[in-house]
């Protein structure tokens, strides 16, 4: 296998959610979040492949592409993004390790480049599933993982993906925390931003 890792994309889908009220209370300004999802061919489907570097390179390519798409869908600058997350769903002929190869070694650097910063770990989830599987993308503040108002999740699904030999890869970004956040903890105004935690 070559390790060039150029993603073969069947489909790109972007989702934007804007919450304007909750329990009858207006959310001013509305909280907004966006996810960009790529449906790609899994080059390692149907067989055991020891070296997953091709998938790692695909992760690097998609980290930049999906972050650009998600940020553009919100219509803000990358530096205005407050929280982020990533996730992947592998079709039935792939391994959960394929999702790990895409998400963990190389995807994060281009995400942070597109956002200007990003000291915090990018929270992630992964699963194997069939067409229409729901993917819950965890969200956390991009510069300080302990900011409690920004712990959140965004569900995305695509009815015709992932097919057996495909992988769904998602990056989500927000311009805000949860609507009506009120369970205390570290506030975004208190971020030191040195260690990615606080």
């Amino acid at each position: 296998m070559t390790a060039t890792g150029k993603a073969k994309i069947r489909k790109l889908v972007t989702f934007v959610e804007e919450t304007r009220s909750e329990m009858g209370r207006a959310i001013e300004p509305p909280t907004r979040r966006a996810a960009a999802v790529a449906v790609i061919e899994n080059p390692c489907a149907g067989k055991f492949v020891e070296d997953l570097s091709e998938l790692m390179n695909i992760g690097e390519e998609l980290g930049g592409l999906l972050t650009e798409r998600a940020v553009a869908a919100l219509g803000i600058s990358g530096t205005s993004v407050e929280s982020y997350g990533k996730a992947a769903a592998v079709g039935e002929n792939g391994e959960i390790e394929h999702a790990a190869a895409i998400l963990h070694p190389k995807l994060g650097a281009p995400v942070r480049k597109a956002l200007g910063k990003g000291a915090a770990l990018i929270p992630s989830s992964k699963k194997r599933g069939g067409l229409g599987v729901a993917l819950d993308i965890p969200l956390g503040h991009k510069d300080a993982a302990f900011v409690r108002s920004h712990f959140d999740g965004m569900e995305v699904r695509i009815n015709d993906a992932p097919r057996a030999n495909e992988i769904m890869v998602a990056v989500a970004v927000t311009d805000s925390g949860r609507p009506l956040a009120r369970v205390g903890g570290l506030k975004k105004e208190e971020i030191k931003g040195e260690d990615g935690l606080r």
């Binding site: 994309i9 489909k11 790109l12 889908v13 934007v16 959610e17 009220s21 909750e22 699904r157 009815n159």
Partner: protein, 194 residues
Amino acid sequence: MPEVRVRKSVTVVEEIFHEGGPAPAVPLRRAAALAVIQNPFADSYVADITGFMDGLKPLGLEMANALVRALGGDPRVVEGYGKGAIVGAAGEIEHGALWHVPGGYAMREILGGAKAIVASSKKVGGPGARLDIPITHINASYVRSHFDSMEVGVADGPRADEMLLALVMTTGARVHARVGGLKASEIKGEDGLR
């Protein structure tokens, strides 16, 4: 007339490069605008509900404009459309029918007087319910290449006293359309059918 209260709006854009066959020069794009609103008639039978159709007109226009923006801003790229509604558990299917006029006419207006009837589907369902929105060509319902559909839904809506309203627009035929029938190039454009 009850006020229109939007809890949440969602925009979904799909860009389809291929489905296993030769990739077209221009990918197909499909976009959906969804709004989760309060159902003012939930929990009781209200005989006269038609006034709410006028109330929904501004929302219809807002959503139709959002779709055109999501597809790049030029309404001339839009070739297909559809609409739908999911009514939460404390409402009736008839409440979903309120969306036909404001949803359909908003898209026709934004698209410069599209001629074909706007295909639609509706159902009663809970949070996370999925709805398949039928799609047809905006000027001639019989154009076979443009018969399509888009599945939509929102994880946390509609709650029992809410409705989810949906509009969908597409930029062209199915990605590998090849089952014959009336072609878009053959549209007469007189009756909205052919």
